[in-house]
């Protein structure tokens, strides 16, 4: 079990800047994120899209913003726990015991939820029947491609993941590629390749079709696809793969006894604490009268939540406000002269 002052859930810009503020006031934190990289929505949704409303930064991309935030908290040497998700929170005396999916445990008086709109999870097929095969023969990611050797594989989607896997698996499997329209959003070279493979009958290409049903007695046998006009076709399939991008889900957060307003957590605007003592919520996931879902609002919220954390992390000390320009203590923490 790792003891710390604060566990931050979410390594997006808001979580990162809150970590910075914790470092400035002399607190320690551990940062957990479900994604395999730091940056949250900035990295997952729009790494290349320019952002124009970061104060004093006329224009930067999601990736640049993330890199700068990482650089800014570097002096504090905080630990990141990526590819992991906080599953359970339990109060023991004055501390929260935080357990992750990978069975890591933390003990801290404070938890800051900076979870955006939740954790990113693959979008699934709308068909109810697909749930029965979920994880066995209906898959949304590939861990071991050898399982598809000499099998029939139906791949749904029109982006790079769908196209790349269709091309790759067509070497050793019987691949059908199904997409809802006849344009693809994948890289032009991949689209070209798919068309060639389709002309050579190496890949069965079905455009303007979507999934209707999956069938099988015990194991998956076939998948039924339908056109918008209602015409349907049955394809033999040992595996069905869906690549529809990621969706944000609140996930385990809903089980922690926090007040919820739609998909957001109500907080006070003094220190962004929730209805649970020592649990704070900042950034897109929190709500209060006048809430703006801007990155700059998340920074403000993180700065105030950090001071809120101080109260529980150092109950016998009084928080003293200091400027980074003037304080030698802060300069020491930053490792600058």
């Amino acid at each position: 079990m790792t003891k710390t002052d604060v566990v931050i859930i979410g390594a997006g810009p808001t979580g990162l800047f809150c970590a910075h503020q914790l470092g400035i006031i002399g607190l320690k934190c551990e940062i957990v994120d479900n994604l395999d990289k730091i940056g949250g929505q900035c990295i997952e949704l729009y790494p290349d899209k320019p952002i124009y409303d970061i104060p004093a930064v006329p224009e930067c991309t999601g990736e640049e913003l993330t890199n700068n935030l990482i650089k800014q908290i570097k002096p504090f040497k905080f630990n990141f726990h990526l590819n992991d998700r906080v599953q359970k929170l339990k109060k023991v005396n004055d501390n929260w015991i935080i357990t992750t999916t990978n069975r890591k445990e933390f003990s801290a008086p404070n938890v800051v939820i900076a979870g955006g709109v939740g954790s990113f999870e693959p979008r699934k097929f709308p068909t109810k029947s697909a749930e029965k095969f979920d994880g066995t023969s209906v898959l949304y990611s590939i861990k071991d491609k050898t399982i598809f050797k000499d099998k029939s594989v139906a791949i749904f989607g029109g982006g790079d993941s769908a196209l790349d896997w269709a091309i790759e698996l067509s070497n050793t499997s019987k691949v059908s590629l199904i997409h809802r329209r006849d344009e693809f959003r994948g890289a032009p070279a991949s689209v070209q390749k798919i068309k060639e493979l389709s002309e050579k009958n190496i890949i069965n290409l079905f455009t303007k079709y979507s999934i209707k049903d999956v069938k099988g007695n015990g194991s998956l046998e076939e998948v039924e696809i339908k056109s918008e006009e209602g015409e349907s076709k049955i394809l033999k399939a040992d595996y069905v793969l869906g690549f529809f991008g990621l969706i944000m889900q609140l996930g385990p957060i809903v089980e922690w006894g926090l007040n919820l307003d739609k998909k957001a957590i109500p907080v006070n605007t003094e220190n962004f604490e929730t209805n649970k003592k020592g649990i704070f919520a900042i950034g897109d996931i929190c709500t209060y009268p006048g809430k703006l879902k801007l990155i700059l609002s998340g920074f403000h919220e993180g700065a105030l939540a950090a001071r809120g954390c101080f109260k529980y992390a150092r109950p016998n000390e009084k928080y003293r406000f200091e400027f980074t320009t003037a304080s030698n203590t802060i300069k020491d923490r930053l490792g600058v002269k």
Binding site: Y46, V117, G245, M248, K263, D284
Partner: protein, 106 residues
């Protein structure tokens, strides 16, 4: 200003007067109309403000810009009359527009 009619998947209708310059998505969110999530806040990056627009209105709407169809690929049960409501800007011309919401926004 345009009156927009939002129809939930179960058939329940909600009407809202929405100011020009806002989007159909914002009209729903600001009036607490259920069925449009808009997780990303309108930056065309999440496909959770997906609506269907019937033929008669579909052709009258400003055309889709680059990227909208790519995003719609990821919506729940999209079809050829699907739009992202965050990309439909309100103007007087849209008075009476009816948008149908999918069973869910996932």
């Amino acid at each position: 200003m345009a009156k927009i009619i939002y129809i939930e998947h179960n058939g329940k209708e909600h009407a809202a007067e929405v100011q020009n310059g806002l989007t159909v998505m914002e009209g729903a969110v600001q009036n607490d109309i259920p069925g449009i999530d808009a997780d990303c806040g309108g930056s065309m990056s999440c496909a959770t403000c997906h609506v269907y627009v019937k033929e008669d209105w579909y052709d009258k709407l400003p055309k889709k810009e680059m990227g909208e169809d790519d995003m719609l690929d990821q919506a729940y049960e999209p079809n050829s009359k699907s739009r992202l409501s965050c990309q439909i800007m309100i103007s007087d011309d849209l008075d009476g527009l009816r948008v149908y919401m999918p069973e869910k926004q996932v």
